[in-house]
């Protein structure tokens, strides 16, 4: 125990006015759904609200509203007017940022410092970025008169609820599409607060529709015949199902799926920053990050030293109440995800890898998993191949740059990768050889609205962010 014990520093919940129940957001209004389900705080298992569950008929209503809004208003509105709506939304997100951050941490379990400093500011920045594109589409490189596609059906995951919403809605609206978005079953609340923001921004009804529910609701969105575009972020398993479902249709699809990123540390790396990058890479957002650096590939000559530094650093991670401003690692999002993480970690041990976690007390209630590393992992281990989507790092070693690249690429995924070296030419050569959509060199888990994001191979297709992100929502 340190001499310097940080007293609890909880962010106040009072800024958030939770309603007992939330409806579906269709055609600019909150309406009842066919059924309902409860949404909880994963840190305490406290029920936060009752959420409407959208049936196929509800989804149909939403798509019809989106179609009307597309045909009558949004699709024909001059770009400069659309832009102003988006700028308005960006500003409203910034103005309500504290409320959104608290709500996100409550419903998702992520530390308030992340929702406050990363998720919410990036979400606002995304709207701000794409707002500017709305009246400049002919200059985006997709033809002289690029047209919107129509109605976009969007399904997003629970790891960055508001940010993924922004990644989906901002470019879609900028390009002139209308949307029906389904937030993840476990994290609907910030999307519903976003719906309020749409009302506040006086966005025309039907331009944004939010339908809450589980997998069946998502399937209804994806399979609706009047949806022109499907955008999905989530697991590779579901990505396959969606790709199959839209086969033979005219729906344009983008998929942002799983990953098993290699974070490669060479012996000449800036060790202290590399350790930070490893920690950010796998423990940011409890490792619930598709581009998480879940495989550490460290050069054998510095492996011992690096691991010692890493363990020392991990011992300073503060796991606990997501609303405490000093929390570094929050709650696992759901019981289901926790059991998956536990199962894979047990497999790691059973396969002979050595498991280590710093001493840390976990709360009694809620879903928790201590930051964990496995050493002595080989490529053949399941924990080196399967996406764990939790705070679990598999450590492998390599001897030569060639071996590092070979191991890094030896996966069906290809979303992201990290490289740590102080040698410029090595960085560039390795970055060239890595088969991944984002390569962070001497940094990790950095995101920006101007920077395209998306995967190779089974990590999906299409890019979100930047000029590239418009392509998914435009017909050339």
């Amino acid at each position: 125990m340190s001499a310097f014990e940080y007293a609890p520093a909880p962010e106040s919940r009072s800024i958030v006015k939770l309603q007992p129940s939330y409806g579906l957001f269709i055609n600019g209004e909150f309406v009842d759904g066919a059924g309902s389900f409860k949404t909880i705080s994963p840190a305490s298992e406290e029920v936060l609200a009752e959420i409407a569950e959208a049936s196929t008929a509800d989804v149909d209503r939403a798509v019809k509203a989106a179609r009307r809004a597309y045909t009558d208003v949004w699709g024909v509105m001059p770009g400069r007017e659309r832009a102003k709506y988006l700028f308005r939304i960006a500003r409203l997100i910034a103005e309500r940022s504290r409320e959104l951050a608290v709500l996100e941490s409550l419903n998702n379990g992520k530390p308030i410092k992340e929702s406050r400093d990363v998720d919410v500011p990036l979400a606002a920045a995304h709207f701000f970025y794409y707002a500017g594109w709305a009246d400049k589409l002919p200059y985006a490189g997709f033809g002289a008169d690029p047209r919107p596609l129509g109605v976009a059906g969007q399904v997003i995951p629970w790891n960055f609820p508001l940010l993924m919403l922004a990644w989906k809605i901002a470019p879609a609206l900028a390009a002139g599409n209308t949307v029906v978005l389904k937030p993840a079953e476990t994290t609907p609340l910030t999307a519903l607060l976003f719906a309020e923001i749409c009302q506040q921004a006086e966005l025309p009804p039907g331009v944004v529709n939010i339908v809450t529910g589980a997998g069946e609701t998502g399937a209804a969105v994806v399979n609706h015949p009047d949806v022109d575009k499907v955008a999905f972020t989530g697991s590779t398993e579901v990505g396959r199902i969606i790709a199959r479902a839209v086969a033979g249709t005219n729906k344009k699809v983008t998929l942002e799926l799983g990953g098993k990123a290699a974070n490669i540390v060479f012996d000449d790396a800036a060790i202290d920053q590399a350790v930070e990058g490893i920690v950010t890479g796998i423990f940011f957002n409890q490792g619930h990050v598709c581009c998480a650096g879940s495989r550490l590939l460290v050069q054998e000559s510095v492996a011992d030293q690096l691991l010692e530094s890493l363990k020392r650093r991990m011992a300073t991670l503060r796991v606990g109440d997501p609303l405490d401003k000093n929390t570094d690692v929050g709650a696992i999002n759901s019981a289901e995800q926790l059991s998956r993480i536990k199962a894979l970690a047990e497999i790691g041990s059973a396969e002979g890898a050595e498991r280590w976690s710093p001493a840390c007390e976990l709360p009694d209630r809620g879903f928790w998993f201590a930051p964990t590393i496995f050493t002595g992992v080989s490529q053949a281990h399941r924990i080196a191949r399967e996406e764990i989507f939790g705070p679990v790092l598999s450590v492998l070693t390599f001897r030569t740059p060639g071996e590092a690249v070979e191991k890094a690429n030896n996966t069906p995924y290809g979303l992201s990768a990290g490289v740590w070296s102080e040698k410029g030419s090595r960085i560039l050569a390795i970055a060239d050889q890595l088969r991944a959509g984002v390569v962070w060199a001497n940094t990790f888990n950095k995101f920006d609205p101007a920077s395209p994001f998306g995967g190779y191979k089974e990590s999906g297709y299409g890019r979100e962010g930047g000029r590239h992100g418009l392509e998914a929502y435009l017909a050339g």
């Binding site: 199902i241 199959r244 033979g248 069906p412 890595l434 950095k446």
Partner: protein, 298 residues
Amino acid sequence: MPAKKKESADSVASATRVTAGAVLPRLAVRKTYKLYIGGAFPRSESGRTYVVADSKGQFVANAAQASRKDARDAVLAARAAFGKWSGATAYNKGQVIYRVAEMLEGRRDEFAALEVPASEVDEAVDRLVWYAGWTDKLAQVVGGANPVAGPYFNISSPEPSGVVAVVAPSAPTLLGLVSVIAPAMATGNTVVVITDAPRVAITLAEVLATSDVPGGVVNILTGSAAEMAPWLASHSDVNGLDLTGLADAKLALELEQAAAETLKRVRRPAAVDWSADPGLAPMTAYLETKTVWHPKGI
């Protein structure tokens, strides 16, 4: 005296049926159109061939009928060639594709003999030249620096998806083949093409084989798309599937569904005017955007 004229294989073959007593013209050597895999021209491992007829239904040649195992071998060859071809400089790729154009220009007569209109050969040559010029420009058009809000250098550049399986359009034969092969080549992908036009395709393969195109960059399978394409669509080591030229909607649906298993990049069947400006889509369909971040600090 037999006329000393330049004959196509067909006419030479028919000229052998001459009256007894006359001086027999020489017996033509018939050509079997084999497959093009890994830079070589193997027969189908299945040993199967099929008869190719001309537009009047007359026998003109035997062609290898590729099997699923040939498809497998073609993917292996394409994968083996991918590292070097994708890593070749854009300038080098442009030179190679331009060389294909040169060689095709020099073999106009062969394609004329295969009933390819001269205008189509022109278009095919011109299309190759067009793509040759794209290799070192595309990265500047579709990539570039991204102004992120922080002290980072951030750049996006296009990279090839990998191995692309293509069902070539039935017509136009030469222009269709060139239009599906060249963009994939230009972007650094390697290609496995299924075609039902063996004479044109394999004659084009001969052009490719003599044009500095490394073996395995383009692989041509002659035979039935319905038989082979499902194997390519479900092959885990294939990254892209180009069905723009496929007329069979039911087959296309099955192929797209099979491709979903490994999240292949799929171009769906489309009514394509092969003579029109292709735009960027045939290239960008099989490009991945890689974005590299690096801190900027002293």
